[in-house]
């Protein structure tokens, strides 16, 4: 475990973009630990940002606390919570795949100068179609708009994709884009590139069998697709949503290389 985040890879993207499929594959690699979502990178990075922005002057003046000490304290908290597996050989890379990590790629990159980031992208129509099959509700018990209405689902994808694109630009070669479509059409080639980005070689164990018990919580929504071989059948599942595309959604799809 390194304080600078070497060995850490954070995945992020719009929910229902294939992050769990990616985990299903990466978890087979002997050098990788890729567990289920923890939500912790975003929580801790945002808490650090909040401390740094609102309390930095106070901490410097009255607690002789330098910015890097605050950053290291919070970085050490995150690696201390999720990094145990890296203490045991042969694991050298920890992949954390909470989709909404995408919201905190910037602060995470500051906290962990050696960490790497993967923006997982999927056709927004297919993402929206998948979202609309969920029954996710908020604390008030009501279904979220982005799992209830096609326009809201597409807008949700558009907005989060914009954040992901912003992170790609800000992080440069520390951030790799992986598309769902490449992953299911050419899994070996796509995984080889991703593993190289993480400093690892391809290992055919990524295509090994997985068990139901490997997946928890919302991941289990996709069990039938996770337990079998990688298939392309979900590409184009959101074609019927074409009629809901706004100019903004079209522009984002085009920007990401999808045909509209």
């Amino acid at each position: 475990m390194s304080e600078d985040g070497s060995g850490y890879v954070f995945l992020g993207g719009v929910p229902r973009s294939g992050l769990t499929l990616l985990r299903r594959l990466l978890m087979g690699h002997p050098a990788i630990h890729c567990g289920p979502d923890t939500g912790l990178p975003t929580s801790i990075a945002m808490q650090w940002q909040n401390f740094a922005r609102s309390l930095g002057d106070l901490h410097r003046r009255d607690f002789t606390l330098e910015d890097n000490q605050v950053r290291n304290a919070m970085a050490g908290l995150l690696t201390g919570l999720i990094g145990e597996k890296l203490k045991v050989a042969p694991k050298t890379v920890l992949v954390e795949k909470t989709s909404l990590n995408i919201l905190a790629f910037g602060p995470l990159a500051e906290m962990f100068p050696a960490a790497r980031f993967v923006h997982v992208v999927r056709d927004g129509r297919d993402v929206a179609a998948s979202l609309l099959r969920r029954s996710w509700t908020g604390p008030d018990g009501r279904a979220f708009a982005h799992v209830s209405r096609p326009d809201a689902a597409l807008q949700y994808w558009t907005d989060l994709s914009a954040i992901g694109l912003g992170a790609e630009e800000a992080l440069g070669d520390r951030c790799l884009r992986v598309t769902y479509e490449d992953l299911v059409r050419a899994p070996k080639r796509t995984l080889t590139a991703l593993l190289r980005f993480a400093g690892l070689d391809f290992d055919k164990a990524v295509f090994g069998e997985v068990a139901e018990g490997d997946f928890t919580a919302l991941e289990r929504d996709s069990l039938p697709l996770l337990l079998g071989p990688v298939v392309r059948t979900q590409i184009g599942a959101g074609k019927a949503l074409d009629r809901h595309l706004t100019p903004q959604v079209r522009a984002r799809l085009t920007e990401l290389g999808y045909r509209v």
Binding site: D37, S54, F63, N72, G76, L77, T216
Partner: protein, 263 residues
């Protein structure tokens, strides 16, 4: 760890926590700066992670429950290490809201003394209503400084959080009224609990001479704490709260005020 475990001080806002921190800091062996404001946030985050993510962290990330507590304690300690090194003293952290997290802080810091200060809830409400505190996110006045009911509810929550700790042998509770009426006896009791000697007590009784009123942010009582202790703020509610406010406070805080012997 036992020897250097930080001391946590809490209480409802406007209960005398700043006076208490000035007294503790004047001891000469404990450093108690202004509110660092990180403890309640990290204690709350640790409780949230424990409640929501522990099964996954344990089963899939190899983290033992005790290790979760240790990780958060290490992070909190990291904020205070520079101050401990610079002063050579044990660190005490005073943020009023600490009291709402005493139960979780006990899990993170099994050996830390937890100190609560209690003040008549009616005086606390009257004092809160004279503050101009705003919500950092919205810029609007906070509910607790414009609504006697919200202020009373926060006081009750703070009292109940302290009461829940009374079975803990390393928990100490003192009254604001005792502190300002009988400072020597009250400070002696507290300092005996904290392992401080007579010299520290004498230094603490002269807390005002060494208090740095300019330190910290939003320590609303800094100017007052920089003066010698007086009893002028006891019973201020009688002149500051109107009848409607008094009734509202009693309807919310009556049982707690009664348990504490204030009514």
């Amino acid at each position: 760890m036992t020897r250097s475990a930080p001391i946590f001080i809490g209480g409802a806002p406007r209960s005398g926590t700043t006076l208490l921190r000035a007294i503790v800091n004047a001891s000469g062996t404990i450093a108690c700066g202004p509110e660092a404001r990180i403890v309640p946030a990290l204690a709350a985050l640790s409780a949230q992670v424990e409640a929501m993510h522990m099964p996954v962290l344990q089963a899939q990330y190899g983290l033992a429950p005790a290790a979760l507590h240790d990780r958060f304690a290490t992070a909190i300690n990291a904020f205070f290490e520079p101050m401990a090194e610079a002063t050579g003293r044990r660190v005490a952290e005073k943020t009023p809201a600490n009291i709402l997290h005493f139960a979780q802080l006990r899990r993170l810091f099994p050996h830390s003394p937890l100190v609560a200060i209690v003040r008549d809830g009616r005086d606390v409400v009257a004092s809160l209503l004279s503050m101009d505190w705003t919500d950092a996110r919205t810029g609007a006045p906070m509910d607790i400084v414009r609504d006697a009911g919200a202020a009373a509810r926060l006081w009750v929550a703070s009292i109940e959080a302290g009461e829940a700790m009374r079975g803990d042998p390393n928990y100490f509770e003192l009254r604001y009224e005792s502190l300002v009426t009988h400072p020597r006896d009250t400070i002696s009791g507290l300092f005996a609990f904290l392992g401080q000697d007579q010299e520290a007590i004498e230094a603490a009784l002269d807390h005002a001479s060494g208090f740095e009123a300019g330190a910290g942010e939003n320590e609303s009582s800094a100017e007052r704490v920089s003066r010698p202790i007086d009893t002028a703020a006891i019973g201020r509610w009688e002149s500051d709260l109107d009848q409607l406010q008094r009734n509202l406070v009693l309807s919310i805080a009556g049982p707690a005020l009664s348990r504490l012997g204030y009514v």
